[in-house]
Amino acid sequence: MILDVFASPAIRSYSAAAGIIAGGAAIGGILFFLLLPTLIVIPMSLSETNYIEFPPRGLTLKWYSAYLSDPDWMAATWFSLRIALATTATATITGTMAALAIVRGCLPFRTALQALALGPLIVPHIVLGVALYLTFSPLQLTGSFLGFLVAHTVLAIPYVIITVTASLQRFDPTLELAALNCGANRLQAFFLVVLPNIAPGVAAAAVFAFLASFDEATVAFFISDVGGKSIGRKMFEDIDFNLTPVIAAVSTVLVATSLLLMGSVHLVNARKPRP
């Protein structure tokens, strides 16, 4: 076959060297392309000028102080933070209970329920955003804490269910049987035996729920309102109408939060032996 030509020794050594150099450069370029946008917000938030320069002219923290002293930005940040924390609580509890019912319950419609629970993952966020906006609008729920909570819980639940289901399936059911054998009832067995064992999975699910709410931009864009604006909506508006490096400062804070949270989940789960 023609490819066997490449197997001859002389061509192999030259082409190997050239291939490695070219391939390395190409791969390096692709990896740089992947990292560039995430990393670029950091120098941008510290740059003295309104636009980024190379080499940078000066370092300053003025964009961060502008962010922290701006009432609109702070209101949006606290709003998003409160919603994300509330969503984490509701989504983790609801999702864990549902995962228990799916994995360890005897529901006749279990498969359908699981498919439906993953629905928000499949439906494009734009469709969900528009649907929720049209539903909330006549009920005056746009920009409200409750509206956001409902919307973000629905978005976060699939992640919780997937994670906790995987965790439960790795959990040995005979441990719970042993607890029941020793006289515990179902509730005690759950809190004293099952929960401590699936705790890493539930913790990971909680992080996913938090980020699903905090980082979410599309649905939050549509159900935001003058009365309640998420940080995503505020960023979107400012990118369109008020492009300053304050956005870069906000972005750096958000990126640091996401990376810290996801990094810790990754580290915690990497230490566990995986089947």
């Binding site: 197997a7 992947l34 969900l128 528009v130 992640y159 049987l177 864009f221 995503g232």
Partner: protein, 299 residues
């Protein structure tokens, strides 16, 4: 084998005999109680709004809004344009992402972690922030234009942003991790012995790759491609920020109809079409997608 394993002390009115088999499962009433919050949340926040949207698209009892989609050339162009862009983005992600996935699967622990970090860091960054970064990179006085002018490649700033190419570039960047991870899973599952056996039988490394590795990685390629394509169809944030009026996609059209033109039944019709196409692809390829939907590979 039936053993009286537990006589629940706190439920004197209804103790149940549990066998070592039935004790593995919660009772029906418990299961229903556990599943109720989920059903309530989905009903209120998911099913009702989507069904309401669906109903709104038929308001007036006619298919008029659907007819508008195919009748007016502008809207039809948006539909075909969206599919085109999604295809281009998928192919670009595949071409750029496959080498990265291959590297991740083949390198030793240390370097592989570095490459994995390069894939996970953008994945864990919010789409909004990445799109913002692209806006600043591509704008008139952005870094890329500055670099081109400083090195003398061009005289004046090029119009890089608010074009179709900018949208494709930014979307490829955002969707690449979704292409890389399924391919990585497929390549990881491939035993290294297969390639060694091929080399042992006389194949050069290129031939071994083409004849052994490539075909066996196809399930991952397929899963990643479907995932990328489906995600690209419904993308809103990136095209809305990076694209201009000349490169309108389905999602941005829906957004415009909803917030600017306030033509809600038409927006509902467009959304239903988008949802139908997405569901079609997901159902057609649900078995291949199961390779990539598992979040085991995401963290």
């Amino acid at each position: 084998m039936t053993n009286f394993i537990s006589r629940s002390r706190s439920h004197r009115l209804s103790f149940r005999r549990l066998s070592s088999y039935s004790a593995r499962f919660y009772s029906l009433s418990t299961s229903i109680v556990l599943a109720t919050p989920l059903i309530a949340a989905l009903a209120i926040g998911f099913l009702y709004p989507v069904l309401k949207l669906f109903a709104l698209s038929f308001s007036g009892g006619t298919l008029a809004y659907y007819r508008r989609i195919v009748a007016e050339p502008l809207h039809l162009a948006v539909l075909t344009g969206t599919v085109q862009v999604a295809l281009v983005v998928t192919v670009a992600s595949l071409l750029l992402g496959f080498p990265v996935a291959y590297l991740m699967a083949r390198l030793s622990k240390g370097p592989a972690t570095v490459v994995a970090a390069c894939v996970f860091i953008p994945l864990w960054t919010s789409v909004l922030i990445r799109s913002y970064a692209w806006v600043t990179l591509l704008q008139r006085n952005g870094i890329i234009n500055e670099l081109l002018i400083d090195t003398g490649v061009t005289d004046g700033p090029l119009k890089l942003i608010y074009t179709q190419s900018a949208v494709i570039l930014a979307m490829t960047h955002v969707l690449m991790p979704f292409m890389i991870l399924p391919i990585y899973s497929a390549l990881r599952a491939l035993p290294a012995d297969y390639v060694r056996a091929a080399r042992n039988l006389g194949a050069g490394s290129l031939r071994a790759f083409v004849a052994v590795t490539l075909p066996l990685s196809l399930p991952g390629v397929f899963a990643g491609s479907v995932m990328c394509f489906v995600l690209a169809l419904g993308f809103y944030i990136t095209p809305a920020l990076v694209g201009g009026p000349g490169s309108m996609l389905m999602a941005t059209l829906i957004g415009q109809q909803t917030t600017v033109l306030l033509d809600w039944p038409f927006a509902a019709a467009l959304s239903t079409v988008l949802l139908a196409v997405t569901l079609l692809f997901v159902l057609l390829f649900r078995r291949t997608l199961s390779l990539s939907k598992g979040l085991n590979s995401v963290y």
